[in-house]
Structure formats: structure tokens, C-alpha cells
């Protein structure tokens, strides 16, 4: 190794609103949140609990509390945009047609909004009593 160390220049400048900059920051910030939420979810639901004994009754018990509902809604809000933005980043590396990429971006944006709204409604309105009723008589 030579003794020369690289020097780092930091600039502080005002820049215009730039979507990609916020998308980039969102990936880091939501990634940090998902480190707790998603890894926690995997440990709680797939190690401490198991999908081997997961039933509608179990879901009804867990979603009886607003704490669990809130946990899952936060997970949803961070994970879906993080994942789809990641897919967008990958596609942009391989698709060089700006018109096509714009169409894909619009489709992905609609998909994110639709998925988050649909699932958030599902979690919020989930009625444990109705689920227990529905589970009656079903094979376990």
C-alpha cells in the first residue's frame, strides 16, 4: 500500500426536487425499518410460530389486537414500495427504451397503490368473529 489516502470532497448545494433522489433515500430508510419489521416478522411467524400449524383461527386470534394489525400494516407500507422500487431499479438497468420504461413505471405505480390499499383495507376491516364463523366446518 502506498501512503496516499484518497481525499473525499463533500459539496453542499441546493438541488431541485428529484424523484430518483427520494426513491434512493426511501430504499435506505424503508430498508432500515424492514430490518426490524420484516426480519422480525420472519422470526415470529416462521420460527417461533410455524406455517405448519397456521390456521384461520390462529390469524383470528392474532388480528384480534390492533397492535398486530398495525405491525402488519406498517410492514405492508414499507415492503411493497421497497420491493417494487427495487424491481424498477433492476428493469431500468436492462430496458433502454424510455417510452416503454415510462409505461412500466405507471403500471408499477398503480400496482403499488392498489396492493397497499386493498391489503390495508383487508387488515383493518378483518373481523376475528366473522373469521371464526367462517372457519366452522372447514377442514383444518
Amino acid at each position: 500500500m502506498t501512503s496516499a489516502t484518497p481525499t473525499i470532497t463533500r459539496r453542499k448545494v441546493q438541488i431541485k426536487f428529484n424523484f430518483e433522489r427520494y426513491a434512493y433515500l426511501f430504499m435506505r430508510m424503508s430498508g432500515l425499518a424492514l430490518l426490524i419489521l420484516a426480519v422480525g416478522h420472519m422470526m415470529i411467524q416462521h420460527v417461533l410460530n410455524s406455517s405448519g400449524n397456521l390456521t384461520l383461527i390462529f390469524v383470528a386470534e392474532q388480528w384480534n389486537s390492533w397492535g398486530w394489525k398495525a405491525y402488519d400494516i406498517f410492514l405492508l407500507l414499507f415492503a411493497i414500495p421497497h420491493g417494487v422500487n427495487g424491481l424498477r431499479n433492476i428493469l431500468e438497468d436492462y430496458i433502454h427504451n424510455p417510452g416503454l420504461m415510462k409505461t412500466i413505471n405507471i403500471i408499477l405505480a398503480i400496482f403499488v397503490v392498489a396492493t397497499v390499499i386493498w391489503a390495508a383495507i383487508g387488515i383493518s376491516l378483518f373481523d376475528p368473529e366473522a373469521a371464526r364463523q367462517a372457519a366452522q366446518g372447514l377442514p383444518s
Binding site: 473525499i8 430490518l35 426480519v39 416462521h46 406455517s51 411493497i80 420491493g83 386493498w118 378483518f126 372447514l138
Partner: protein, 148 residues
Amino acid sequence: MSSLILTIRESVRYRGKSGHYSWIAHRLSGLAILGFLVIHVWDTANAHFYPELYAWSLALFKHPLFAVGEIGVMAAVLYHAFNGIRITILDFKPEWWIHQKRSATIVWVLFAVIFIPIGIFMLVEFTSRCGSLGAACWQFPRLSDFTG
């Protein structure tokens, strides 16, 4: 088609020194998680909208095919999480870029140390459950049994 093959071949060809394998693993694990996540989210919403359909999918996910997939998702989430921390730290700490190679190795070791015991635990749990079920373990649940 030939450009797709070229893309794949050149993506896998190791160029070294910059955590290239980490980059590939981060992308593939991210895509795998997203593929699972989209199915998982729309499926879980069914717990409210179509509980019978949801109960059927819960039974379906106990099939060995999905049990193995579940272990794969666990691996993908853990690697993506640890490598994500590395990327984020290095993004905000350019003076640490000289540790690129070492940091990539640390992530692989951390992933192995945490994933291997969890993977074995999940595999043992699944095999004991499936073993006690016998041949029934390999049967796909019929949708008609749930929706009536």
C-alpha cells in the same frame, strides 16, 4: 433472446474486487422476496375478503413444495437484510469503501451463522410434521373442500 443470454452470462461473469457476487445475490434475493411478497399480501388480504379461499391457501402452504420455498424465503430475507445494511452503511460512509471486500465477506459469514441453524430448525420441524402425516403430507388440498 441472444441479448438475454448475453445479459445473464455477463452478469454472472465475475469481475472481482467490488462485491460482484453480493450484487447478484442482492438482486436475486430481492426479486425472490418480491415474487413471494406479492402472492403473500394478496393471499393474506383474502383472510378478510374470502376467508374460505384463505383457509384453502393456508392448507396448500403446508405442502412440502411450499415448506421448502419458505426456507428459501428465509434465506433470501436474511441475506438481503444483512447486505442491505452493508450497502446503506457504505453509501453514507465513503471513507469505508476501502473495506468493500472485507464487508462483503462479513455479510456472507453473518448470513451463514444465522441462517444455517434457523434453516436446520425449520427443516427438522417440517420433516417431523410431514413424517407424522405420512402420504397425506404430499396431497394438495382440494379447493372444493373449502368453498363447498
